[in-house]
């Protein structure tokens, strides 16, 4: 009985772990026995693991990660710095909303990665083009989430601050910014995914190093275990970032935890 109780207590992590391990076991075992897909295309977790070990120990992947991270961080930071004030401004000033909304909605909805070739033409192969691509992809989640956050700001709280003599500046700092903080974290989670797409696509098109370049090079040379290993690293990084943001939200916005629990 005690064992069963303990199981129910930790049902979520137990089932999650079992399903992931089971997935890899199935992959490993099925390909060699049942399924007739050429194992060359899908390779096997054991081979991917060996390739990953080689990549990390050999050091090749660190250089690629460093190159891609640099472009990502620049583009992402720019997206935050531009996106949040733009969204707040749009949310607080109706004229700004009406003027800017058509462009931003169209751009957010379109597959901006299609601009990659153009950006490479304009900025050349290298850091700048990738930074611009990451920025373009990551900025809209910040704009629209900041905008939605401002729109959902409690008018009562704005009136409270006004009634105590608060000025426009106080309303921004003491009401709007704290209100939109959880929206920003949600926006950042979306933006990370889009930003990573920007990096990879940018490096597919024209690059001589970086994670995207590594993936495309391994693919071109039929080194599929290495290719999968690199993709896996990307997946893990993306999960770590988005989960880290969730934790960060709990630290930055402790009042939200209680509100959601109710």
């Amino acid at each position: 009985m005690a064992l069963r109780d303990r199981y129910y207590e930790h049902q979520r992590p137990i089932l999650g772990t079992v399903s992931v391990i089971g997935f890899f076991l199935l992959w490993e075992w099925q390909l060699t026995s049942v399924v007739t897909v050429d194992p060359f295309f899908l390779t096997q977790p054991s081979k991917i693991a060996a390739a990953a070990k080689e990549l990390f120990l050999g050091g090749a992947i660190w250089q690629d990660l460093a190159v891609s991270s640099k472009a990502f961080l620049w583009g992402f930071s720019a997206a935050i710095i531009v996106g949040i004030p733009t969204g707040v401004f749009m949310g607080w000033r109706r004229r700004a909303e009406y003027t800017l909304d058509p462009f931003f909605t169209a751009l957010y909805a379109s597959p901006l990665v299609a601009l990659a070739p153009l950006l490479i033409i304009i900025f050349g192969v290298g850091l700048t083009g990738k930074v611009v691509l990451v920025f373009l992809l990551a900025v809209f989640p910040f704009i629209f989430n900041a905008f939605a956050g401002v729109k959902s700001t409690d008018r009562l709280l704005v009136n409270v601050v006004r009634s105590f003599g608060g000025k426009e500046k106080d309303i921004y700092w003491k009401v709007i910014l704290p209100s939109i903080l959880p929206y920003m974290v949600a926006g950042a989670r979306i933006a990370i995914g889009r930003g990573i797409v920007g990096i990879i696509v940018g490096e597919f098109y024209a690059a001589s190093e970086g994670i995207g370049f590594a993936i495309s090079r391994f693919g071109d040379t039929y080194r599929l275990p290495e290719m999968f290993a690199t993709i896996l690293v990307l997946m893990i990084l993306a999960v770590v970032f988005t989960e880290g943001l969730r934790k960060l939200e709990n630290v930055l916005a402790p009042w939200k935890i209680g509100q959601e629990a109710r």
Partner: protein, 265 residues
């Protein structure tokens, strides 16, 4: 002597886009003495809260004006503070930081305002909760924070917009008695908007009964019950008589309003 509050011919019409204009208050004239406790009752939508917001300085009347100590109200000021029906606490701030808000906006130094806020938190009995967030508090506790926050800037006039409407009946009774004690000590002028006849009769020196929209004053009733008032006083025949007098005046307005609504359909 100049009255503390002098409202003369206050008229305010809301003109929302793509909807009919609504005259919320029409020619409201009222004088309130320093230290007086005045309640305003009236049918829903009679402009009670609108009047409070004009007093607070968040709304400007189309006609007429309100003077405070002989000076025309043109915006928010530290001589007034409001206790809001839905509390209006900043959810990302602890009790202490919420109470400090008014002083912070005035630019008072951090240690001074902390000390002052702690005094008020003690006054409303929440010292053990100063580091709690609003979502961790009960409704009654939240409104104590609201009260402490309003008192911390030492306003001369306390505006209360149905402050206890969101509380359960027992908490409400308790808060009324505590409010009277605090008022007795702090000697503020209080304008108290409520739907509850009993609450108005129990707390006030005078009860202002407003007509249905557009709101104007229908009757002002002086409540000559001795102070301090204990809870038990509500059981006395005199108290019940006052309640029924307020009710009979108010009832005509409720009937008018319902009749009016019916005629429109």
């Amino acid at each position: 002597m100049v009255p503390c509050i002098q409202a003369s011919d206050v008229t305010l019409t809301f003109r929302p886009k793509d909807r009919e204009a609504v005259t919320a208050i029409n020619g409201l004239t009222l004088e309130v003495a320093r230290g007086e406790f005045v309640s305003i009752v009236g049918p829903s939508g009679c402009g009670k809260s609108t009047f409070l917001n004009v007093l607070l300085g968040l709304l400007k009347p189309d006609r007429g004006e309100i003077q405070l100590n002989g000076k025309r109200i043109s915006g928010p000021g530290e001589d007034r503070a409001m206790v809001f029906q839905e509390f209006g606490l900043l959810p990302w701030r602890t009790v202490l930081a919420n109470v400090e808000l008014g002083l912070e906006l005035k630019g008072v130094a951090a240690d001074t305002r902390r000390k002052r806020a702690r005094e008020l938190i003690e006054l409303v009995g929440l010292t053990a909760f100063e580091n709690h967030y609003p979502h961790e508090l009960s409704g009654g506790m939240k409104q104590r924070v609201g009260l402490a926050r309003a008192l911390v800037t030492e306003p001369e006039v306390l505006l209360m917009d149905e402050p206890f409407a969101a509380l359960d009946a027992q908490t409400r009774d308790l808060m009324q008695t505590e409010l009277l004690q605090i008022w007795d000590r702090a000697k503020k002028t209080v304008i108290f908007v409520t739907h509850s006849i009993e609450e108005a009769a129990y707390l006030s020196d005078r009860v202002v009964i407003m007509s249905a929209r557009p709101g104007r004053i229908k009757e002002v009733l002086r409540i000559d019950l001795p102070r301090p008032r204990e809870y038990e006083m509500r059981l006395s025949p005199g108290f019940n008589e006052i309640k029924s007098r307020i009710w009979s005046t108010l009832k005509e307005e409720l009937v008018t309003r319902i009749g009016g609504d019916g005629a429109q359909r």
